[in-house]
Every structure is written in C-alpha cells, then in structure tokens.
Symmetry: C2
Subunit: 168 residues, 2 copies
Amino acid sequence: MSNDDHASSPAGAQAPAAVRAESGDCRWRDVPLMAYKDEGSAPFRDVSRQVLFDDTRLGCELRYFEVAPGGHSTLERHEHVHAVMILRGAGRCLVGDRVYAVAERDLVAVPPLAWHQFRADAHAPLGFLCLVNQERDRPQLPAADDLAALRRVAEVAAFIRTGDDNDA
Amino acid sequence: MSNDDHASSPAGAQAPAAVRAESGDCRWRDVPLMAYKDEGSAPFRDVSRQVLFDDTRLGCELRYFEVAPGGHSTLERHEHVHAVMILRGAGRCLVGDRVYAVAERDLVAVPPLAWHQFRADAHAPLGFLCLVNQERDRPQLPAADDLAALRRVAEVAAFIRTGDDNDA
C-alpha cells in the first residue's frame, strides 16, 4: 500500500511514520535491509535481516529474517526465547531435537537453550517474523560434544548445517 | 502446515508446542478464538481476538485481531504503544488525526495517547498482528470534547465509528 505523506506523524520526526507500507517482496518503507550477522562470525547462508519495530516501550523487538532458497540460519541456542511467525515461503526448522516442516503463518516457539536452525526449501525462500525481548543474551554456537549429541537423532543429523564437513 | 505430534516439546506440557500450524483462515492450532472485548463495554463491530504469544519472558504479547468486512475496532487511546502488521485483507486505520489505507504486510505504529481505530473494507476482512508490552494501561474511550476535536478534521469525522448517531 502507498501512503505518500508521512510528515504529520503526531509523535514527531524521531518516531517512525505511523504507517510504513510494504513496498513489495517483503521490503518496507524506511526499513533498511541488513546483514543477518557479520560474515565469518558464525555459519549461515543467504539470510537477510530487517528490524520492523524496536520501540523500547514495547519491551521487545520484532525482526523479519529471510532465508533465500537453499539457505539456512545459524545453528545456535541462547537463554532468551524466540516467538516466530512464518510470513513467506516454506522450509523446515530444528527446535530442540526435532525437525518441523513450516509454511506461511505457522507459529514457532523456541524455548530457552533449545538448539534451533531454520532452512529454506530448495526452491522457495523462508521469511519469518521473530520476536525477542529487548534484553537478551548472545547466541551460543555448538561445541563438538553438542554436535555429537544433536547427531544422535538421524533426522537432526541430516538436517543441521554447521559449515563443517560433517554436514549431510 | 501440519505437524501431528506435539508431545515431545522439550519444555514440557505447560509450554506451547514448538510449532503451532495455521489451520487455515488465520486460525491456529491450540489458539482459542476469543471475543475482542466484552459486549457492551465499548463500541465495536465484528472483531475477534487470538493470543498468539504471551510468554512472560518475551516482555510483550502478540495478538491477532480480525475485523470482519464492514466492521471496526473501538476508537480508543492509551499510554502504551501498539506495533501492528496487517496480515490479511484490507481496510483503513485512524492514527492520531490521520486516516491511512492499509493492506497486507503494512506496518502501523500507534504512539502513546494517539486516538486509533481500525475498519475493514466493505468486502474484505482486516486481520492484523498487534504487539503490546505485557505491562500496559487500560484503553480510554473518547469523551464528548475528544470527539468534537477529532471531528474538526473532515476525513476523521467521516471515518470514525463511535456507536452514536453522529457516525457518518
């Protein structure tokens, strides 16, 4: 949708415009397309990030991540929880020790310290909203013994992408 | 999407299932369809509510509201902010002293104490995600002088629905 004049936002210039239209293709007016993480800081492939809402008065932040076809987010865990809604496309995700197929509008809850990873299907992107507390800990990457434990479940072993030679 | 076995959720029986599939028509597995508000407590028409995430560790709650074709939410304001994404259909919303057309995936930010109301188009529902801080004040309804002030803007006067005879 198009709303061309955002100048009269009652909260003033520092507040976001009242309405920020989706400009198509899951991009939004006034929302920059950002790198998912610093290249080389963790294994991932073809993921972008947009911060949709980060008003401190909300207590949380709403981000939109999009994994390109064939790509994947980082396999990681942390104390903070994720609340996810798939917005676009299809794929699979690991939560804990299970792999789930997900598609548009499905909800995913990632509990504290649950290993998780999102993968887009080979021929579709996987775009999802991800809600987090504004106060949160940094993600942890799996150590060798964590990976060994994860790989005890055959489905998980075949699913995870860690950037190393043991990826199925 | 369908995931039939939610029994092994690692966080146990009291946590939501890791994945709650959309079962079609913006209804979700294990998410009850609720009344928007108590009937008679405030003016509204044909609105339903579903709470998608309310884990206290998030700091916020994510709800899904759906306004049926021709319906409207309550004209109200409060200190807490709303962060909204349109998920389905089309309509218009008042934020402050302006009316905006909105459609799927558009973002709406409602600042503190901004009067706001959502109306679905005549022939489409308007479904939207609404994010709020888990600690929040109760909505205020407009008094006569608030309505008089709102109606000084012709577009707003024509838009608002208050349940009284002055609705355009």
